[in-house]
């Protein structure tokens, strides 16, 4: 059994108010290490066995068509054990 | 881990059970054994413990609340009274309106967003359960000091939660309150009101009638939300090495509830249910025992059929779960297929979990084994009734014997400063920061919403029939004199209905108090209930239902006694309503009602840390005459605005800033005139041509009127004090953004 992870982030050029709000909140709580913060989404997809290249290609397609909005978001597909 | 069944309980009478950890007293545990003739199973113990808790059984308040029934005024409009999920009143033209207010205080302190969100979800389901389409919500909120760090944690989360859930359900938020006081610091109050409308024939009741009818659970799947005390039980029944389950906060999903509403309304429209109950506090324990008690008397439930989000839940946990967005319906076998079809259309999970039986047994099995066999009434209705000791607290005589000591403005600059100070006070300041997070337009029938005196919804688009609702409380007055405080809040809510031209019809209430184990708090509660019951009888307004929230207390500091009174009224044609403020110059402003020196419990006193004096005495006969005056005057008033906290100063401020039309007024004894909070007063604006009409009404109803001045200009001018609207607006609208961002 394997877990395929798709991480979706807004494109760098898109206005990202949540990340800004988080970056402003951290120092208020005493955390002063962050230069910037961006918020995204993480999808975990469980499959039986190890993922084949064909399956990964399908996940890429799903990521492009459904899990992300390519107009404003980038995605990365990864396999986690 | 072995299942604790009825069979096992019968043969192991001496097993020790964690009844104390579950909140049951030894005598209550003994009583359960007496009722059952044996020790309860762990599932039965869990059910009794939750259903006999203060929250579910009202054990400390029942003896007092029965006054609402005993002193109920005769009212032809009351279709469903206290005892059901919500009260229902006849508003004419074949329409019935159901409304109720409830609290979700403690969860909102722990998790502000979800606490508030699920509070809204819960009250909306109560309204839906009556067979009505929910049409609006309101939210009276109370917080600790406005500038306290914890208020900055709690307020934004609660407001976001109320908005997040209500907006997503498609319910306009048409009013509420935001009030600050130090006594709410560890105990914010989140009271949520919902109103719904239906035709008389649509009214549904919570009863399982008809042996052989099916018990159907539909809505969200069941998870481990909100399991409180039962987690003790769960960890008891798991041996060492088993997983420890911690209680989870209830998490709501408004989309699921929206779909549930649409699905349910289609089901109701096809008359497919015999009885229905929503799953709120105590979840399935409550729904099954209440439905059974209300109907033929018995029910058989196969608990293992309940669809689960979390397959590891034990039967006790399933019975205690407070997972949101679930309903339990009683359906005749001939109608179940259609019921299932409609659920499928809306993609709503639905499962038949049992059937109604005759007799006096609620029997619950788990994979064929009987784990619950109780007489349902003993769980749902015949819980313990306490007659808790009550004693007038020492502070009452102390504060009532003192005179409030506050500076009274005299010069023009002092008057200007006082008006600006009140305009900017957090309790009185502009609340757009809050209310702009709420959708007030959805459903397209909102006639009035914040900051108007009442919320008003059109319920018939052809005849323009409408209803108006207002929620009010004055905790400062209730603190000084709980009996008068409750009456005064009732009068204020009714008056707020009448200023728009609607006639008050019925009452709901949310009674927020400290610990009932404190005789002083219990006295405050008893006095408030007595005052409300007496007031409702005198005003002819029946209490249709409501909610009690006790234990709002941190350590020994209880919240101010805060009975929130909701009044609903009817207006025949919403197009004739009187707006709160004026849009043109040249109108005459009158104060209707007389001002005395009533500074005790006022916002001015609060701002000067004065919590002493005597509360005003309610004169409900005069309030009723004022209401008649307002209803008759509706035909020619161009504006009418109720005076409450902040007195005439706040009233004038709110009126001139509403449409940015100023006013020039002359006052005798301006300091007291502006700051006093004498009840039973309204500002009205009329065309000068209608002066004699107003004078005639005043004489007819024996209400004093005083001409204040005229509308127009770009300032609020009071004697020599000139306050530009720009400066007044800045003071009024800067407070909340400065505090909350």
């Amino acid at each position: 059994m394997a877990k395929i992870v798709v991480e979706v982030m807004l494109k760098p050029e898109v206005l990202e108010p949540q990340g800004n709000a988080l970056a402003a909140a951290l120092p208020r709580l005493g955390f002063n290490f962050a230069k910037s913060v961006r918020q995204g989404k993480r999808f975990e997809i469980e499959i039986d066995g190890e993922p084949t290249p064909a399956q990964l290609a399908e996940v890429e397609k799903a990521a492009e068509v459904l899990l992300s909005n390519p107009v404003i978001e980038n995605y990365v597909v990864r396999v986690e054990k | 881990m072995a299942l604790d069944t009825v069979a096992i309980a019968q043969t192991t009478p001496d097993n020790s059970q964690p009844f104390a950890e579950l909140g049951l007293k030894p005598d209550e545990y003994a009583r359960i054994k007496e009722i059952l003739g044996r020790r309860p199973t762990s599932s039965e113990l869990a059910m009794y413990s939750v259903m006999w808790s203060e929250h579910c059984s009202y054990k400390s308040s029942k003896v007092h609340l029965k006054q609402f029934g005993e002193k109920a005024p005769k009212s032809d409009a009351l279709l469903v009274g206290i005892g059901e999920n919500a009260g229902v009143v006849d508003v004419g033209q074949g329409y019935a309106v159901t409304f109720k207010i409830e609290s979700h205080n403690h969860p909102s302190f722990v998790e502000p967003y979800q606490g508030a969100a699920t509070g809204v979800g819960g009250i909306v389901r109560d309204i839906l359960t009556m067979g009505a389409r929910p049409i609006a919500v309101m939210d009276p909120l109370r917080f600790g000091p406005a500038d306290a760090p914890d208020t900055r944690r709690v307020l934004p989360g609660i407001v976001a939660g109320v908005g997040g859930y209500g907006n997503c359900l498609g319910l306009p938020n048409i009013g509420g309150e935001v009030t600050f006081d130090e006594t709410y610091a560890g105990n914010p109050l989140v009271n949520a009101l919902c109103v719904g409308v239906m035709k008389h024939s649509d009214i549904k009741l919570a009863k399982a009638a008809g042996a052989g009818n099916l018990v159907v659970l539909y809505g969200a799947k069941t998870g481990g939300d909100g399991i409180g005390g039962v987690s003790v039980l769960a960890s008891e029944t798991f041996g060492a090495g088993g997983s420890t389950k911690r209680p989870s906060v209830q998490v709501g999903d408004p989309f699921v509830e929206k779909v549930l509403i649409e699905c349910s309304l289609e089901i109701f429209a096809e008359d497919l249910v015999v009885g229905i109950q929503d799953l709120g506090g105590a979840g399935l324990s409550c729904a099954t025992s209440e439905l059974a008690s209300g109907g033929s008397g018995g029910m058989k439930v196969q608990l293992d059929k309940v669809p689960l989000r979390d397959p590891s839940l034990s039967p006790e946990e399933i019975l205690m779960s407070e997972s949101q967005e679930r309903m339990c319906a009683i359906v005749e076998p001939s109608k179940i297929d259609r019921f299932l079809e409609i659920c499928k259309k809306w993609d709503v999970t639905v499962t038949v979990i049992g059937e109604v039986t005759d007799g006096n047994h609620l029997e619950i099995t788990w994979n064929g084994e009987l784990i619950v066999d109780v007489p349902p009434r003993t769980v749902a209705h015949d819980g313990p009734v306490y007659n808790r000791p009550l004693a007038q607290p020492d502070y009452i005589n102390q504060v009532n014997s003192q005179t409030v000591n506050v500076p009274i403005p005299v010069t023009a600059s002092e008057i200007k400063a006082a008006v600006l100070k009140l305009a900017a006070a957090p309790n009185l300041a502009d609340k757009s920061w809050v209310t702009s997070q709420y959708d007030k337009y959805v459903q397209g029938n909102t006639i009035q919403s914040q900051p108007d005196d009442s919320g008003m919804i059109r319920i018939d688009e052809t005849t323009n029939l409408g209803v108006a609702i207002s929620t009010d409380a004055n905790a400062n007055w209730s603190y000084l004199n709980p009996y008068q405080g409750a009456k005064l809040a009732l009068a204020e809510a009714a008056r707020n209905i009448a200023t728009a031209g609607a006639r008050p019809l019925a009452v709901t209430n949310c009674l927020n108090f400290g610990s009932p184990e404190d005789p002083g708090v219990m006295w405050q509660f008893a006095e408030s209930v007595r005052g409300l019951a007496d007031g409702c009888l005198e005003m002819g307004l029946p209490v249709t239902g409501g909610n009690v929230s006790f234990y709002n207390q941190t350590g020994s500091v209880a919240i101010l006694p805060t009975p929130v009174i909701g009044v609903l009224g009817v207006i025949q044609d919403v197009r004739t309503r009187t707006p709160m403020s004026f849009t043109s110059a040249g109108l005459d402003l009158y104060l209707v009602g007389q001002t005395q020196e009533d500074l005790a419990g006022s916002e001015w006193a609060f701002l000067h840390n004065q919590r002493v004096g005597q509360a005003p005495e309610a004169d409900l006969q005069r309030e009723m005459r004022l209401i008649e005056l307002l209803l008759e005057g509706n035909s020619f008033f161009t504006a009418a605005h109720d005076l409450s906290q902040g007195g005439l100063s706040a009233g004038l401020t709110e009126m001139v800033l509403r449409h940015k039309v100023g006013a020039t007024v002359s006052l005798e004894n301006p300091g007291v005139a502006l700051l006093s909070e004498t009840p039973g007063r309204v500002i009205v604006a009329i065309n000068p041509a209608d002066t004699s009409k107003l004078e005639a009404l005043a004489i007819k109803n024996t209400i004093a009127i005083t001409k204040l001045g005229t509308t127009g200009g770009d300032s609020l001018t009071i004697n020599d004090a000139v306050i530009s609207l720009a400066e007044l607006s800045t003071a009024h609208t800067s407070t909340f953004p400065k505090l909350f961002g």
């Binding site: 909005n69 | 989309f255 337009y441 006639i447």
Partner: protein, 222 residues
């Protein structure tokens, strides 16, 4: 004239949109998301709300509804389609309109009476207005910030496909104060504010929203 109003699970303003369609002079026809059937309507409105609870992204799931396949085909053939708020989001997710709607820049849901300027009165949904006419209609959303890349923005502006702009302070961070856009042909319009809630002064801030619903009748007459 028949105007379809689509209901997805979680749609909220469908009855309000239907009311506005009727007030504008057309017949409102209820369309169910799960039915691949446009019932021979002449135009379609995608109303506001929280379809599918805004799961994943606003409008992301509605976009795949059976009825939407037909809407996309019909729109590409010239059928007028108006997407209001959540409807606008569905149109962007369907790629019938460019760009995307994201979280309001101050992170709060905002409901207010918003002044907008109708900057393109040549579309099927805006021809009742004068060019540059300013109207006040309710804005109520949490994800109303219109975003797109620079290229898209240049195209929209250059081709006059911005149909409405916010007047005054930017309420949500939308690029160039964009409140509404159209496709190249002008038959598909997305609008963030809610004209269906401004059809009379009894229940709304004005009756100025009605123009969107009378425009469609003019468009069909032509």
């Amino acid at each position: 004239m028949r105007v379809g109003v689509i209901t997805f699970p979680g749609t909220l303003d469908d009855r309000d949109a239907a009311r506005a369609v009727g007030a504008g002079g057309a017949e409102a026809v209820a369309l169910w998301h799960g039915d691949a059937d446009l019932k021979s309507v002449d135009a379609v409105v995608l109303p506001g709300g929280f379809s599918y609870g805004d799961y994943l992204r606003c409008g992301a799931i509605s976009r795949f509804a059976p009825v939407m396949q037909l809407v996309i085909e019909a729109a590409n053939k010239g059928m007028p389609v108006l997407g209001i708020c959540n409807g606008f989001q569905v149109l962007c997710e369907s790629h019938l309109l460019p760009g995307a709607l994201t979280r309001n820049s101050d992170l709060h849901f905002l409901c207010r009476d918003q002044e907008i300027e109708v900057v393109n009165n040549q579309t099927a949904w805006t021809n009742s207005f004068k060019q540059g006419e300013k109207v006040v209609i309710p804005l109520k959303n949490g994800e109303g910030s219109f975003q797109c890349d620079d290229q898209t923005l240049a195209m929209l502006e250059g081709e006059g496909r911005v149909i409405a702009r916010y007047v005054g302070e930017n309420p949500n961070g939308s690029r160039n104060l964009i409140a509404g856009i159209s496709n190249a042909k002008g038959n598909v319009v997305g609008l963030m504010p809610h004209p269906e809630h401004a059809i009379n002064e009894l229940t709304g801030p004005s009756a100025q929203g009605l123009g969107f619903f009378t425009s469609i009748l003019n468009a069909m007459v032509k």
